[in-house]
């Protein structure tokens, strides 16, 4: 293998254009989890971060590194400051979820999380860490290019000319997220191997008996030492596969399924809220865009079976007068919002469509309902 081949491989891995769908979906799930995190933190916000917190500011500023990014300390240390900062944090989480100014929202969220985390890092767990770092990856990604309000705005601004399918772009931020997850499991695996309990199979026996973590206790499993031993080793095997086999296309979904099983089991048995959900969500960037499309089509077909065939929307983009752009914009906005494709949208101005729509109307899609954006568009017999 030559250096040139390696370099080409590197460029292909980081920069070969790919669909933004996985990161867009991850953005939504991640945003919802952050909103849930906010809901859980809300009642104790001032207790942990307010001026009267049990962790005083000088103690929380103790850190091996001298500089800590914490814009909160620039403001008066009052309850109002904390509540205002938290409100901004939650607004940015909400706008990230719906994809409104996605990159800016993600960056603001990252900044807010860094600030809160540095304000009192003594109450943080690994869930907070992955939440903070993921916000940065989202901020540099193209997560707002699909399933977002940003796309609707772009469609409107461009007068309906925005392509319905999001444009592929260099997926380096998505790849960073994948590498991050790989490194995470790699460290988790090797640090466990360094201990005796994970090797001799007693680790899960002890973790299931830590009362301060316990959630649901499944006695038939938790009281059976043999089963716990195999589950301990299975945990190691799954973690190993999550940074090795996950990169093999044929095995990726099997490994992700095992990873999901692992995190669901931990979530049921141990009280580590948010962390397990964020870890499960972090598998989304590993999903191939073409598979997302295939699964989405299955969902759409399911809706078709329940709700009947899609309706037909005809619009004219080059009509005389000033209404032409409005029709196109309305139709394209409709197309962007209609993620389950409940409407077949036809531009009647295209010559091919003009010739073939009657035939298609008659037989191919059997639309139950026809709408038009344009005055004289209903074909003979269709109304």
């Amino acid at each position: 293998m030559s250096l040139l081949t390696l370099w080409r491989g590197w460029l292909k891995f980081w920069f070969e254009p790919a669909s933004p769908m996985p990161m867009a979906l991850y953005r939504i799930v991640y945003g919802l989890i952050v909103l849930w995190f906010g809901f859980l933190l809300c009642p104790d916000l001032l207790f942990w971060f307010g001026p009267a917190s049990p962790v005083s500011n000088p103690v929380s500023r103790e850190w091996p590194s001298e500089i800590l990014l914490d814009p909160l300390i620039l403001f008066p240390q009052t309850d109002t400051t904390i509540m205002a900062a938290f409100a901004i944090l939650m607004i940015s989480a909400f706008s990230l979820t719906i994809g409104l100014f996605s990159r800016a929202s993600a960056f603001l969220l990252f900044l807010g999380l860094v600030s809160f985390h540095h304000h009192n890092w003594l109450i943080l767990n690994s869930g907070d860490t992955i939440m903070r770092i993921s916000a940065l990856y989202l901020a540099v990604s193209n997560c707002g290019d699909a399933l977002s309000v940003d796309r609707l705005i772009k469609t409107y601004v461009k007068g309906g000319k925005e392509p319905r399918t999001p444009q592929p772009k260099a997926p380096w931020a998505q790849r960073l997220m994948q590498i991050q997850l790989t490194l995470l499991y790699c460290q988790a695996f090797f640090s466990k191997l360094a201990g005796e309990m994970w090797v001799n199979g007693t680790a899960l026996y002890y973790t299931t008996r830590l009362e301060d973590f316990r959630r649901f206790y499944f006695a038939p499993i938790a009281d059976n030492v043999e089963i716990l031993k195999y589950l301990t080793w299975a945990t190691l095997a799954v973690e190993l596969s999550l940074f090795t086999l996950i990169w093999l296309k044929d095995l990726r979904y099997i490994v992700i399924a095992l990873g999901l099983l692992l995190h669901i089991s931990i979530d049921l048995t141990m009280n580590l809220p948010i962390f397990q959900w964020l870890m499960m969500a972090a598998f989304i960037p590993f999903v191939y865009p073409e598979d997302l499309e295939k699964w989405a089509n299955q969902v759409r077909r399911f809706f078709d079976r329940i709700l009947g065939p899609p309706r037909l929307l005809i619009y004219e983009s080059e009509a005389e007068g000033g209404a032409e752009n409005k029709n196109a914009v309305k139709a394209e906005l409709h197309a962007h919002i209609d993620i389950f494709k409940r409407t077949a949208i036809v531009n009647a101005s295209l010559p091919a469509a003009r010739e073939s729509w009657r035939e298609l109307l008659a037989g191919h899609t059997k639309p139950t309902e026809i709408s038009t954006y344009g005055s004289s568009l209903l074909p003979p017999g269709a109304g």
Binding site: R8, L11, K12, W14, F15, E16, S19, W48, V55, S56, P58, V59, E62, P64, S65, I67, L68, L69, H117, L122, I123, S126, I133, K161, P163, T165, Q167, A170, L176, Q180, L183, Q187, K192, E196, T202, Y206, T207, R209, L210, D212, F213, R214, D223, V225, L228, N271, P273, E293, N297, R301, P310, K341, R342, A344, I345, V346, P351, A352, S356, L360
Partner: protein, 264 residues
């Protein structure tokens, strides 16, 4: 061009693609209406020399990309085709981006490696930046070993008149539902930080907090004793496991004389 492109050249592979990809009816509808336009656009873009290359190209495309071509203007199609190829060309910007990515990944690797002289030397220049900008991380959860004891913390607050009261740190195992989810931060604070007295500062800080919490102008707190009750987890054995013993072993973690300034 060995074979002139006609609509038929597009129709057949696109139909095959749509069928093999299990495309949704609406997409089929959208795509089929536009085959002629797609043909024209591709032809104008000068992307393909012959029908064979075109057929091969179409068969590999996600079906959802067809409507893009229709919506786009001819020039845009050309631009997009060129853009997707230029993404993989070596440019100064790509080299800079690649160096930044490689540097970041190397820093992450160094941060996650166990402490080791060469690692510690290499990470020195980047550690302050990673720390300052919130990129610090560690994923060695429940490893290398897991603790073999259960415990909970409580404090005894002594007042000026000699009276005492006991304050127990919130325990997540006594909560349920949402309250339990909220309590995990109390667990982190009490069980990990206070118990281990992180940086040697958390215990006095907590004692001062408890003094403020129990402040009473008539009878103010004078001493705070933070203690722990613990019990070892029984060793695993074959058959039925022993129930977990009650936390009966007491350890005093910290005694604190309350100062006048602590109560403000």
């Amino acid at each position: 061009m060995s074979d002139e492109l006609t609509d038929a050249h597009f129709e057949e592979p696109i139909k095959a693609n749509l069928e093999s990809n299990e495309i949704h009816e609406t997409d089929k509808f959208d795509s089929l209406t536009r085959i002629a336009d797609i043909a024209q656009l591709y032809q104008d873009a000068g992307r393909f020399d012959d029908a064979g290359t075109l057929r091969d190209y179409i068969s590999r495309q996600p079906a959802s990309s067809f409507p893009i071509c229709v919506n786009a203007k001819k020039d845009e199609v050309k631009t997009r085709i060129n853009e997707s190829q230029s993404e993989l060309k070596t440019s100064k910007w790509r080299i800079v981006q690649s160096l930044a990515i490689a540097g970041y990944i190397l820093s992450l690797c160094l941060m996650l490696l166990p402490s080791w002289a060469p690692r510690n030397l290499l990470i020195q220049p980047v550690q302050p930046f990673l720390g300052a900008f919130g990129l610090w991380q560690a994923w060695n959860v429940f490893s290398p070993e897991i603790r073999k004891e259960n415990y909970h913390l409580f404090a005894i607050i002594g007042f000026r008149d000699g009276d005492t009261c006991v304050w127990e740190f919130p325990r997540q195992e006594n909560q349920s539902g949402i309250e339990q989810l909220r309590a995990h931060r109390f667990r982190k604070w009490a069980q990990d930080r206070v118990k281990n007295n992180t940086f040697g500062l958390v215990l006095p800080d907590t004692a001062r907090y408890l003094a403020r919490l129990h402040n009473n102008k008539i009878n103010p707190p004078t001493t705070i004793t933070i203690s722990m009750l613990s019990a070892n987890i029984p060793e695993p054995r074959k058959g039925r496991q022993e129930p977990l013993p009650p936390h009966a072993f007491r350890t005093n973690l910290f005694n604190y004389e309350v100062q006048a300034g602590d109560l403000k």
